[in-house]
């Protein structure tokens, strides 16, 4: 996900970015007003991503991912809204204004969720985030899980493809009717899972041999730069988030 750029956003402390993204997300979902999420996306998230020089990347991903959503939500909610003002009537179809409105509001939330997430994931190296989280007190085991997952997924995808090819060359059918395709699943999933489970022992030994379980306080090779201003800013976001949620709930009651 990470896109390397020389920008001020890239240089911010990873936790500053995570908390900002979360804060924007929560604000967009809880603050009153149906179009708040659009406002936050357009007025805050997009400009921030432009500052981070990743606006085109962000827009591209948001477009690809939200398009099927947009189509789905617009069709379903406007066509099947029930009682309401029809936009037009054609044969059995009578999309309703209220439904379309609801769909657009939903779409705004989806876009906000995606773009605030991307704002930080496009500009933050996962390992930097992990080191920062570790320094903030997160157990190093969680950091290990996250970074390792990101690194091994490609090799597992290759492994899956290899098994698929091997089984196909042995005559496994992967095209045809539903039942044929469904039956192809087990001869592929089983070897993949069994092979991986047998690897677990060796991998565990390998990292234990490197003092993974030592009870000493860990040190870190890489240092993540931080500033007092950012520290204060993070405190503000941490206070703001629960307040936003409470306010959002009270407003709706």
């Amino acid at each position: 996900m990470y896109v390397a750029r020389a920008s001020g956003l890239h240089q911010l402390h990873p936790l500053t970015k995570v908390l900002t993204a979360l804060c924007l997300l929560i604000a967009g979902l809880t603050l009153p007003g149906n179009w708040t999420s659009y406002c936050i996306t357009l007025l805050i998230v997009f400009p921030l991503s432009a500052w981070g020089k990743v606006f085109p990347n962000l827009l591209h991903i948001v477009w690809i991912v939200s398009l099927p959503f947009a189509i789905s939500v617009l069709l379903i909610q406007s066509l099947f809204w029930g009682a309401g003002t029809p936009i037009f009537e054609f044969w059995l179809f009578a999309p309703k204004v209220e439904g379309a409105r609801y769909a657009l509001i939903s779409l705004g939330k989806i876009i906000l969720v995606m773009s605030s997430f991307l704002l930080f994931s496009l500009t933050t190296r996962p390992d930097a985030l992990m080191i920062a989280l570790k320094q903030a007190g997160m157990p190093s085991s969680i950091a290990y899980i996250i970074v390792t997952t990101l690194q091994i997924v490609p090799s597992f995808q290759r492994k899956g493809a290899t098994i698929l090819d091997a089984q196909r060359s042995r005559g496994l059918e992967t095209e045809g009717n539903l039942w044929v395709r469904a039956r192809a699943l087990v001869p592929i999933v089983l070897p993949l899972a069994l092979g991986s489970l047998m690897e677990v022992e060796e991998r565990a030994i390998a990292i234990e041999a490197r003092a993974f379980n030592s009870h000493k306080a860990e040190t870190s090779l890489i240092e993540i730069p931080d500033t007092q201003f950012q520290k204060n800013f993070r405190t503000v976001t941490l206070v703001a988030m629960p307040l936003l949620m409470i306010f959002g709930i009270l407003w709706r009651l």
């Binding site: 970074v147 690897e199 041999a209 993974f212 030592s214 306080a217």
Partner: protein, 279 residues
């Protein structure tokens, strides 16, 4: 008292029906380079795990007898303390990459981070280790972008940098191509020259003959024989017991029966064979 002292070691995995190691006695001196040979299932890996503390601390199971390294008993120690004394590397290079690091430099530092070594010292030690094993040029590469041989050398470096008193290597070249294997052998030789005590399980006996100080032959969980490489690897006992020995040894043994091999001792390496047949 020997530097490494195994006495009456008998061990059985939780799920195995009979002991895998039976009454093993083995002494190793500081700085010695010992090679272990044996057929599949002989218990070589299990012995490696016993030396490096994973048997019994990680695998559990029933263990009797004692394992002592540098005056400390494995049974009196925890695994996380023991791994600081004894380093372990094994066959599959891919499984030894921690996965938690993005560059070789950081990967090698992983163990030191866990040990709590301060940052400046860490940098010095990692650089020194990379130099010793000859992979300084890979420092900024991703461990996942490397060849098997390179990955295995990263694994060796990652253990070496922790400065263990004993280095246990379980068939580190068996999954590598000839080029990769040669790279790894050179690295091991550098480490041996550096004075590290090494226990190496290896099938490539010609290589052992040149570099190991001593060979220990293991079969069905028992020590069958130990001695100087040139003697142990050419002994009739190992040949009778079906050990995978050098083809030069077996050729010369046949030749000797027909009177074509004149020397008393049998060869292990190509050079020795060439020299002997010249006579």
């Amino acid at each position: 008292m020997a530097f490494i002292n195994i006495q009456n070691l008998t061990y059985q995995y939780p799920t195995s029906k009979a002991p895998v190691l039976k009454n093993i006695n083995l002494q190793i001196e500081q700085g010695e380079f010992v090679a272990i040979v044996g057929p599949n299932g002989a218990g070589k890996s299990t012995l490696c795990y016993a030396l490096s503390g994973f048997v019994p601390h990680f695998f559990k199971g029933e263990l009797s007898g004692s394992i002592e390294v540098a005056g400390r008993q494995s049974s009196q120690s925890t695994l996380s303390e023991w791994v600081l004394n004894v380093g372990l590397a094994f066959q599959n290079p891919f499984n030894q990459i921690s996965g938690a690091k993005y560059t070789v430099f950081e990967e090698v530092a992983f163990g030191l981070e866990n040990m709590g070594v301060p940052r400046t010292e860490m940098q010095v030690r990692v650089e020194a280790a990379l130099q010793l094993t000859g992979i300084a040029d890979l420092a900024q590469r991703s461990p996942y972008s490397l060849s098997g041989g390179q990955q295995q050398r990263v694994a060796l470096t990652s253990i070496l940098v922790m400065r263990p008193k004993l280095l246990v290597l379980d068939e580190p070249t068996s999954q590598l191509d000839p080029i990769g294997a040669r790279e790894v052998f050179n690295t091991i030789r550098n480490m041996a020259k550096d004075g590290t005590t090494i226990v190496l399980v290896e099938h490539k006996v010609e290589w052992i003959a040149n570099f190991a100080d001593r060979v220990v032959a293991l079969k069905a969980g028992q020590v069958l024989l130990e001695g100087k490489p040139s003697e142990a690897l050419t002994s009739d006992l190992l040949a009778e017991q079906g050990f995978g020995l050098s083809r030069y040894t077996s050729t010369a043994r046949e030749a000797k029966k027909q009177g074509l091999w004149k020397k008393d001792t049998l060869p292990v390496t190509l050079d020795e064979a060439v020299e002997g047949f010249k006579q």
